[in-house]
């Protein structure tokens, strides 16, 4: 199993632009979560999706949105990029939303906003 895969691995955007990050969960996993990790900080929760429905949202502005597709893959969209959006964006998947379901992280997408 390839694990959680994310694309692109690195990208550079200009302030004001929009970006779409993609995530493919481990086969059979129906839950996908997104985290933002700014340099020197721990990951910060953005969204969780399960069976294509939003199950949780962190304290992020409406410029951040996400969706999950029928094959359980997911996209994170960020509009009107700010310099402060520069971070590593992590995707994680799990089999469900119960306490016993361990999440597995991808390697992340490094976003630089200039």
């Amino acid at each position: 199993d390839a694990g959680v895969t994310q694309s692109p691995t690195h990208l550079i955007k200009t302030r004001g632009q929009q970006v779409t990050l993609r995530c493919s969960p481990i086969s059979g996993h129906k839950s996908v979560s997104w985290y933002q990790q700014v340099l020197g900080q721990g990951p910060q929760f953005i969204f969780q999706y399960y069976e294509k429905e939003e199950r949780g949202r962190g304290n992020f502005p409406d410029r951040f949105s996400a969706r999950q597709f029928p094959n359980y893959s997911s996209e994170l969209n960020v509009n009107a990029l700010l310099l402060g959006d520069s971070a590593l964006y992590l995707c994680a998947s799990s089999g469900g939303t119960a306490s016993g379901n361990t999440i597995y992280f991808g390697e992340g997408s490094w976003l630089t906003v200039v």
Partner: protein
């Protein structure tokens, strides 16, 4: 506010020495606590969780609700333990997909 605090950014010990990585939390309900580890050039992965009460790679952690702590301990550190360690807390029914992380502690084990 829900919060996880890891007071040490960097912890440096010699091989064979005991190690303790501190984690304190603030949470209004019943928390579930985790330790995640990130080795160099690898992805973030679960090390252990308090409800399992297990020892992974010689590490243990006990949840102390009175002191709101979940410190990670190992009696004899190994060089391969060098990594970034994150303490994390879950809420909303305990889903691991929705975690609050601390800022992390970098453990460096010297030969």
């Amino acid at each position: 506010a829900q919060r996880v605090t890891q007071p040490e950014k960097l912890l440096s010990v010699f091989k064979g020495a005991p190690v303790e990585l501190k984690c304190n939390y603030s949470y209004s309900g019943s928390p579930e606590l985790f330790w995640y580890v990130q080795y160099s050039r690898q992805r973030l992965q679960l090390l252990l969780r308090h409800i399992s009460r297990e020892s992974i790679k010689g590490f243990t952690a006990d949840l102390n609700k009175g002191e709101t702590s979940f410190h990670l301990k190992k009696p004899f550190a190994q060089e391969e333990d060098s990594a970034m360690y994150y303490c994390a807390l879950s809420h909303y029914g305990g889903s691991q997909g929705n975690l609050i992380f601390g800022k992390g502690t970098k453990l460096s084990v010297k030969p």
